[in-house]
Amino acid sequence: MVDIEKIEKRTVQSFYDDGLTEIAAGLIFLLIGGYFFLQLGTTGSTAGSIVSSVFLIVFFAAFFLVNRLLRFFKRRITYPRTGYVAFKKKEMSPKRRVATAVVAGIISAALAVLFRTSPSVQDLFPAVNGLLFAVAALLFAHRVGVIRFYALSAASAIIGVGLAAAGFGDLKGLSLFYLLFGAALFITGLAALIVYLRRNPRPEGGSQGGPDAR
């Protein structure tokens, strides 16, 4: 008998077979980690204030560039080997959107109050980030059913808590967390890509490349 739910889940999982999403996410984390590291080295100087004022620009530019790269490599590597697939863009229901905003607001407010009232809490920056990303990765792993995302969730928690326990707090700890977790994402993505390429050699003349192919 055909297991419908298994097929639906497998279809969603197929998007992550090539590891390119993790490589892209890893690059974003590495860029943010590098940015924090740069900020750390320029604290107090004019360059430092310029660096800290362009955080949002750096973040969105990194996101935009990496997203373009991901699409480019999907066209070059994935679609010719295992075919083109475009997933539906899920529209969040208004109820869910409000619930997400409320939860995010409560977490942000609680953290802001905590960091203001007790400056020593800044030593926990990497631990807080590590645990937040661990929860996010865990929920994502549960939704898509890709085993290596569970490992990444554990890695995030271990790196974050480990750095805080080792005395790397504040901006230094934060930059180390983003660099290490970014490297973990990049390495697992690369390993998945190597396995994918070995399992799926490019078929001769079978390249379709998707509708955006040039």
Binding site: Y84, A86, F87, Q208
Partner: protein, 101 residues
Amino acid sequence: MPADMHGLAELDRLIHEPARLALTAILSVVDSADFLYLQRETGLTKGNLSSHLAKLEEAGYVAIEKTYRGRIPLTLVRLTDKGAAAYKAYRARFKRFLEKP
């Protein structure tokens, strides 16, 4: 016919065929997919896949767009609204049947 068999008898036979069920299940979670992707995911031969897609297209369940990118043929398949509604109804009915004690 026993009452609990009625639900099964009412299943959409076009979708109920295993290969077409796999195809509609895949297409239900994607916006569109090309021929190569569907072939790899279902394990069907080119001929079989074409034949099943033609039946689904004939019923208005899928839309097939044949185009070219350079010299390379590109066949894009997507589930139509009619196909999505039929699959949703099939899925719900089949699930109800399986859950009956």
